[in-house]
Symmetry: C2
Subunit: 199 residues, 2 copies
DNA sequence: CCGAAAACTTGCGGGTCCCGCACCTTTCCA
DNA sequence: TGGAAAGGTGCGGGACCCGCAAGTTTTCGG
C-alpha cells in the first residue's frame, strides 16, 4: 500500500474519530465542521472530500464494525449451520465476557441512536452493512442475492435482532451482559419468534 | 375537530403531497423548499413549521401508511394467532389482488429508497412505525415493550420482511404480485428462516 | 356578540452546511 | 528525474433551517 493511500486512510480515521469524540463531548449542535477539520489537522474544505456530512463521518466507524461482522460470518467453518455461524460471529463481536464493552463504542451508539439528526444516517449505515451480510449469507447458502429473497431476509432479521438487543441493553436499568441479549434475540429469531404462551 | 386543526392537517397534507409529487417529477435536487411551499400555497417559512426538512415532508406519507398497519393489527380478532393477524393486516395493505398498486405510492417508495438523501429519513420513518407496531404486538401478547425484548423483535422482523419484499418487488424484472412476496417473506420469518436444503 | 388570549403565518436575518471550481502541492511511476 | 495523476485548499455561492418579532386568524368565556 503506497504512502498516498495510507495517508488518506489515516486522515479519514482522524476525521471520523474527531467527529465522534467532539459530538459526544459537547453535543452534536455544538460541533462545527470547522472544529472537526481543525481537530484532524486539515482544512474544512477537505472534510467534505471525505464525508458528505457530519453524520456520515460519525457513523463511519459503525460501518467499519459492521463490515467486520460480515467478514467473520464468511470465515466461519462450513461445518457449522448458518445460524450457528451467525450467532458465533455476533457473539465474537458483542460478548465481552464479564468486562464492559468499550465505553467509546457505547457512547457512540448512544449518541447515534438518540440524536435525531444522526438516527437516519445510523440506520442507513446499518442498511449498508446488511447488504454485505446478505452477500456473505448468499455465499454460504448458495443462494442468489438478486433473485432469492432469502439471504436479504436473514440479513435484515439479524440486523433487527442486534439492533433491538443493543437498544435494550442501552436502556436497561441494571445493564446485564450484552452478549446474553444478543444471543437471546438471535435465538428467538431463528426459532421463528413463537408467540409466548400466556400460561 | 375545530376549524384550526382541520386547516393545519390540510396544510400538512398539501405540503407533503407537493413535496413528493415535485420530487418524483423533477428529481429531488431540482426542488426547492420554496417550490414546495408555493405549490401548497404557504410561505417558505411556514414549511419549516410543519417539517424540519424536505426529507421529512416526503416520508411523512410513508409514516401514515405504516401507522395504519399497526392500527389494523390492533383491530384483528383475538381468535387469530399473532402471526395470522400480522399476515392478514399486511396483506390487507399490500395485496392488491390482480390490480397494480397505486402508481403514486410505487413512485414514492422507489424515490425514497433510491435517493441517497432520502434513504436515511425513510429508514427513520420505518423505525418510528416499528415502534408503534411493537406497542400493538405488546398489547396482543400481553408483554411489556420496555422490559421484554419480544414485541420489538417481532416488530423489527416484520418491518424487515416487508422492506425486503417491497425492495425485491421494485427491482424484479417481471414484477409479480407484491402480496405474494410479502406473504412469502413473513411466512419465512415466522418459520425461523430455516437454511434452504442444498438438495 | 365582543374582546382578550392563544395559536398560526410570515418576513427577516444569520449561522451553517455542502459543493463546484480553479489553483497549488505532493506523490507516483516510467 | 520529469511529467502525469491525485489530493489539499481557498473562494464563492446556493440552499437549508431556525430564532425572533411582528401581524393575522381562530377560539372561547362572559
Amino acid at each position: 500500500m503506497g504512502l498516498r493511500e495510507r495517508k488518506k486512510l489515516e486522515t479519514r480515521r482522524a476525521l471520523s474519530w474527531a467527529a465522534l469524540r467532539l459530538a459526544v463531548e459537547r453535543g452534536l449542535d455544538n460541533v462545527l465542521v470547522e472544529d472537526i477539520a481543525a481537530a484532524a489537522g486539515v482544512s474544512p474544505r477537505t472534510f467534505n472530500n471525505y464525508f458528505s456530512s457530519k453524520a456520515e463521518a460519525i457513523t463511519s466507524r459503525h460501518v467499519d464494525r459492521g463490515r467486520h461482522l460480515a467478514e467473520q460470518v464468511r470465515r466461519r467453518p462450513r461445518t457449522e449451520s448458518l445460524w450457528e455461524s451467525i450467532l458465533e460471529a455476533a457473539l465474537a463481536q458483542y460478548d465481552t465476557g464479564g468486562t464492559l464493552p468499550d465505553p467509546e463504542w457505547t457512547a457512540g451508539v448512544r449518541l447515534m441512536t438518540s440524536e435525531p439528526a444522526l438516527i437516519g444516517e445510523f440506520l442507513r449505515a446499518s442498511s449498508m452493512i446488511e447488504r454485505e451480510l446478505a452477500e456473505a449469507i448468499a455465499e454460504r447458502t448458495r443462494t442468489d442475492v438478486r433473485a432469492d429473497i432469502y439471504p436479504r431476509l436473514v440479513a435484515a432479521a439479524v440486523g433487527a435482532a442486534i439492533e433491538v438487543a443493543t437498544d435494550q441493553w442501552l436502556t436497561a436499568d441494571p445493564p446485564g451482559p450484552l452478549g446474553d441479549l444478543v444471543r437471546e434475540a438471535l435465538t428467538q429469531v431463528a426459532a421463528g419468534l413463537p408467540e409466548p404462551s400466556t400460561a
